[in-house]
Amino acid sequence: MEIELRHVSCGYAGKTVVTDVNLIVRSGDFLCLLGPNGVGKTTLFKSILGLQPIIDGSILVDGKTIRNWSRRRFARAVGYVAKAHTPPFSFKVIDVVAMGRAAHIGPFASPSAHDMAIAEEVLSAIGLRHLRDVAYTRISGGERQLVLIARALAQQPGFLFMDEPTSNLDYGNQVRVLTHILTLIRRQGLGVVMTTHNPNDALLYASAVAIMGPGRRFITGSPRQIITKDILDERYRVSVQMVPISEHISICVPARDAQS
């Protein structure tokens, strides 16, 4: 599968936040989207997901425009993993995962035994079987994020869009969530687009990187092309240095002179 953005501009009524984004994501890709706060990463996500209209340009799935697609049809192609938050009611974990089946179930129906079986399966696959009957509101932030990923997997989409899935997690949970994402890409051939504030996520895990703003062109490329001292310094207005950790991989840290 392939999802393509052609000259997409988006924003709110009367104010364009993001202009002329061109992007192609294929099955098996892991794209990290970076950019400082306020450059419109979330706006771009919402527009791609159809939660707000795009101002200009078009979004295509396998070459076909999605403009007139129903929510159901789009949700079967693209899943969304929101930032983990607590709903006002303490649903059981399995019930939350089963909600991922909505795109396959009519508005006036309930999940069938088949739908519940899929929910059980993805819950086991993500390693949270033991939390099946626990209230979603009582589990940790990392577990909640994994439950939301399981829910998106129950949706059985070709692509997953994740909005800062690691931002509220402790270090261990960050690593666990990212490792899970990698496994999903390798095993199921999902295409994943993820926003992150940590350039090292992109260097260590991603197959491609896009960086946005502020006030500059939207550029894409391989992690090593994009996550460079020059680009990071310019986009984030800080001074970083790249530290090689092996022959092929470097990570970025704040520059020594900036730390004193």
């Binding site: 939660l51 709903p87 009611f89 649903f91 508005p107 009957d133």
Partner: protein, 352 residues
């Protein structure tokens, strides 16, 4: 705190009784309550006699009870019990649905102005001396009109993603407007005649319910209930918020308007025959949630059954506590308020 903004007691991990069994227990309690209700009232009729009278309507059985008992059971108590069941079912299922839709456990079925609208319709009907049927029809119509106005205002001014909040705010305004209309009507009403009738009507009572009322209300209440039952699983998803529901593939506009339509139909029909029976739609879903858990697949039928049971029992109290009857709405609020405070104290940290 992990569950800082969550409400409700998580279902216990024990699997017995199962959810289905819990619903059956509720369903089984209703016939028992109904049989007892036939016996309760100013004039004693034994439950056995009451059952015999009911059975005699269908099968020929030897008649060994006074004529008066038959009148009491068939003309007075049967419609009352029927109305109490319908009202409890309607208000509680509608309340549970709105709490999910608006993602707020403090929402009641009249949040969009249906009660104020129906109250206005009834007051107007009494003012212009319509018959009982006319008053009910006008109450039902104005209840729907109020919610339609709320919906129209919200559509006109709401922005994508904020629909629930705008709906609640519009509902408060429209409700206040119709309440002002009610006051205006009371102000011009004849203080010897129509004003007491209006005031009494607004308190919520089943004392003048007859069989025709029950038939008239049963249609919309049961239709709304069937619609809610079919939407109940989608309510779980709506409780996660509009954006998430849409990204999961739910047609939120369709689901939201269908839920509002169903709940409004039920509440308007309820208010039309009984007046405002307060707090039922707020308190019963909470008790049901503590019993069957927050999943709306079980919560909608659970609330409906528990609500039917609750109002039947409350109406028994209303007509037997004192020598003269207490309006049902007054009683449900007097009983409901401390109960709700008790729930608040148990859920304590949840609302902190």
């Amino acid at each position: 705190m992990k569950d800082a903004d969550s409400v409700g007691f998580p279902p216990r991990s024990s699997t017995f009784p199962t959810l289905a069994a819990k619903l059956w227990i509720l369903a089984a309690a209703i016939p028992i309550a109904v049989v007892l209700s036939f016996a309760i009232g100013r004039i004693a009729v034994s439950p056995t006699t009451a059952m015999q009278i009911l059975v005699s309507r269908i099968f020929e059985i030897p008649k060994n009870w006074p004529e008066q008992a038959e009148t009491i059971v068939l003309v007075i108590r049967l419609p009352r019990i029927g109305a109490a069941l319908l009202i409890g079912l309607g208000l509680s299922a509608a309340g549970a649905a709105f709490q999910g839709l608006f993602r707020n456990p403090l929402v009641s079925p009249d949040i969009l102005g249906v009660s104020a609208g129906a109250g206005f319709g009834a007051s107007l009907g009494i003012l212009i001396s319509l018959g009982p049927m006319g008053v009910q029809a006008l109450a039902f119509g104005c209840g729907l009109l109020a919610v339609l106005s709320t919906y129209a205002v919200a559509l006109r001014f709401g922005r994508a993603g904020e629909t629930a909040l705008i709906l609640i705010l519009s509902g408060i305004i429209i409700g206040a407007l119709f309440s002002a209309f009610i006051s205006a009507i009371k102000f011009v009403a004849d203080p010897d005649n129509t004003l007491p009738a209006i005031t009494y009507w607004l308190m919520g009572s089943l004392s003048s319910v007859d069989a025709v009322d029950v038939y008239a209300a049963a249609g919309p209440i049961l239709a709304g209930f069937i619609l809610l039952m079919s939407l109940r699983w989608n309510l779980n998803i709506m409780a996660f918020g509009e954006g998430e529901a849409r990204s999961l593939g739910v047609n939120t506009r369709l689901v939201r308007s269908a839920i509002i339509f169903a709940a409004t139909l039920m509440t308007a029909a309820t208010v039309a025959i009984s007046g405002v029976v307060g707090l039922v739609g707020l308190v019963v879903p909470h008790i049901a949630r503590a019993y069957v858990g927050p999943n709306f697949s079980a919560l909608i039928p659970g609330s409906a059954l528990l609500g039917a049971l609750f109002v039947v029992l409350m109406d028994n109290l209303a007509r037997s506590l004192f020598s003269s009857e207490l309006p049902l709405g007054v009683l449900t609020e007097i009983v409901g308020a401390p109960f709700f405070l008790f729930l608040l104290s148990r859920a304590g940290q949840v609302w902190a």
